[in-house]
Symmetry: C2
Subunit: 440 residues, 2 copies
């Protein structure tokens, strides 16, 4: 068989691992595909840089020439441009495309998929969500005959490592972040991770795929983990919960805002016996609920050169096989449903609200009255007198207590209003934390 | 588009769920496939039986006629014949086939796949292993560019429920089995489950797929869970382990018997912090280790009408899309590697051996000497004097002790020999249990 030409755009940690495997495992790959792969071009900024194991004769800085001759274009540059233009050019020339670019897909999923469909070729992107974990293909193919109702993922390893350390070791946020940085799990500027933005990009892609509706990162409600304190973790633990940063994609049939899709990222309480609670360290996991299949979970390494390269290679083999076997290459129309994307106020969830209150008679009734008025029923109230050694503020030296209220389900809007009203009560010293409870 | 004709062979719990979803979710499925599905025939033994939601006008007892007109044949009869002949006939006529028949695949995987390849159509079987969990497609497609080194699965819900109850509730085997039967998790005759045979069929399919080598159920080393006692579970727990029935498929590069594939099923100790340890109740999970991807796990419901139907429908949508889009339909050649299948003596593992010994001086040195002579190093020895209320046997009223020995890695053959020799020692009253340790 004639070799299939593969052009790599970008040759960082993932790209060089992909290049090494294409050249080093050629026989294996050829047997699985039915034709050999030929690494025809590797586009880099600096051809002189040392890249162990990557053949130097195919290094080039010329995007256009690299794409022009290729059967399969693998985009590993990241960012918006020139990644987007290069992918569109490759698709336009009838090349199949594999990308790991979550930021680009989270912004332009619909456009790119339409371009692939129009060209009759495939655009694969398994590595863009949860690294090595096969999640795109299970969602798009294996569950194609089912109806997915909810996807809940731990899709950012950095924040999972930080929260896991806070939970296991009792460290505070800063120490956990510093350790993550020392171990290479967190960037020097950790904003994209701890702010939830990386998870939001993945939530957009997962929603698009699960609900056949184009969702962009701008549609995703995002809260990061910077406000999570050791106290919140300890309270969660005492009540049988752990805190995880979740990317949640949900299909709502009858929300206050009508039917549609919700995509959101926030730190949430989940029961310690939920399978997601056991996902430790920098691992990722995606929990899926479908009408017929019930509960599924996919677990693995969410980042790193070799795991991401594994996902990229799986996609390369898949598109290569398809080229060998012939036939048109489209997916189902990924954006066929086009459901409205709903604001976070439309979701229904449970809350745990922690209040610092004055230890006076009647506090509890004032607090519970607010819940009643907002139509939110309370599942559990736990009051702890704050020990004397806790500093009483100048303005209010009277004894304080900590009140933890867990609610039954209510709309996010009603629960938000409840929290706002509680903060205004004269018996409440401070609204310590407001956390949603998921996985119940 | 012209409708695609689907013939169902068999209409039990799974079949009727599939029939209901094809007729009830027609629009959804048509949108995903690009053509409507038409349920053209449902082959049953008794057309008069009431099957709620299944259209009666397509019920028939005629296999041949049902297959003759179909684009897609869905085999849900189970067993060897007429399932095998029907599938071969359907493939021979160019129909795509979907099956959930693990027993048949475990016996005839190579033959059936070759027949599909020869006919240029696909034979899909996601539902045959671990019910709703997408595992076949991830192993065959997503990891196609990687090298799988090990697959370790909890693939039988009945035994997992029983072991989980023994571990959580402290029940003995009989009580756990009875409860499983009452809840419908176990058959009246539980032999296929508790004897490990059902898991062995799945191990054969997983091995064939993961290692591109035909493995049949006869190649699989099988030990069931009937010998697992409450004491073994309690000892495991005390040492930080839990006992799970594992189906293990492993690629061995340099075993005493050379390179090859090992497929085996046995109850094994796994550390309580291993992700597989958290798989409770009747759930299934498959843990995969690959060269580049690292550790992955797939979790979900392993049985039941709706979950299994979800997997079958995913396969139906997949083969239907392929028919709409055109092109030849083969997989990679699944049996391309044809590695030798090795006996269990070739594997390397750790053991936990529990002995009932006489509480005499010199016992420990006699016991450890056997390990030394067999070249097996000991990781941990724990000796517990058996309390006086334990009945001393007539023949040996002297005090006894329980000795738990955990070993470092050794070949299964050497560890077996060690266990046999220990049982013969005069200081050993009884060899209480021999368990392998996995997931370390």
């Amino acid at each position: 068989m004639k070799p299939l030409k593969v052009a790599l755009l970008g040759c960082g940690v993932v790209g060089s691992e992909v290049a090494r495997r294409i050249t080093g495992h050629g026989d294996d790959l050829a047997a699985r595909i039915g034709a050999p792969l030929e690494l025809s071009a590797v586009v880099v900024r600096d051809t002189a840089k040392d890249r162990p194991g990557v053949p130097t004769d195919v290094l080039t800085t010329d995007h256009e020439a690299a794409i022009a001759g290729a059967d399969i274009v693998v985009e590993l540059m990241g960012g918006m441009e020139p990644a987007r233009s290069s992918i569109l050019a490759a698709l336009g020339q009838g090349a199949s495309v594999v990308t790991a670019n979550k930021a680009l897909l989270a912004a332009h999923y619909g456009e790119l998929m339409h371009a692939a469909d129009a060209a009759g070729v495939r655009l694969e992107h398994e590595a863009a969500v949860a690294g090595a974990i096969p999640i795109i293909r299970p969602l798009g193919d294996s569950l194609a005959g089912d109806r997915i109702t909810r996807v809940m993922g731990i899709v950012n390893g950095t924040t999972n490592y930080i929260l896991d350390q806070m939970d296991r070791e009792g460290w505070d946020f800063d120490r956990s972040l510093r350790t993550a940085q020392e171990l290479g799990y967190a960037e020097a500027d950790p904003t994209a991770d701890v702010g939830g933005h990386d998870a939001a990009a993945k939530a957009a892609i997962l929603s698009s795929l699960a609900f056949h509706t184009p969702v962009t990162i701008d549609d995703v409600h995002v809260e990061g983990i910077t406000a999570v304190t050791s106290d919140m973790i300890a309270t969660a633990r005492a009540q049988g919960f752990t805190i995880k940063l979740l990317a949640i994609c949900e299909k709502l049939e009858d929300s206050p805002e009508g039917a549609g899709v919700s995509a959101r990222v926030y730190p949430a309480l989940i029961p310690r016996d939920h399978v997601l609670a056991g996902v430790g360290g920098a691992f990722n996991a995606v929990f899926v609920e479908a009408e017929a299949a019930g509960e599924l979970m996919f677990y693995g390494q969410g980042a790193g050169g070799a795991p991401t390269a594994s996902a990229v290679l799986g996609d390369i083999v898949s598109v290569a096989r398809r080229r060998v076997l012939g036939g048109r290459g489209q997916y189902e129309r990924n954006v066929a449903s086009a459901l409205p994307v709903l604001p976070v106020s439309a979701i229904t969830t449970r809350y745990q609200i922690t209040l610092d209150v004055f230890d006076r008679p009647g506090v509890l009734s004032k607090v519970t009255e607010v819940f009643t008025e907002e139509g939110i029923s309370i599942e559990l109230v736990q009051q702890t007198v704050i020990p004397a050694e806790a500093p009483a503020t100048e303005s209010s030296p009277e004894p304080r207590a900590k009140l933890v209220v867990a609610t039954h389900s209510g709309t996010d809007a009603a629960l938000r209003r409840t929290a706002d009203r509680l903060a205004e009560l004269d018996v409440v010293g401070a609204l310590v934390s407001v956390l949603r409870i998921e996985g119940h």
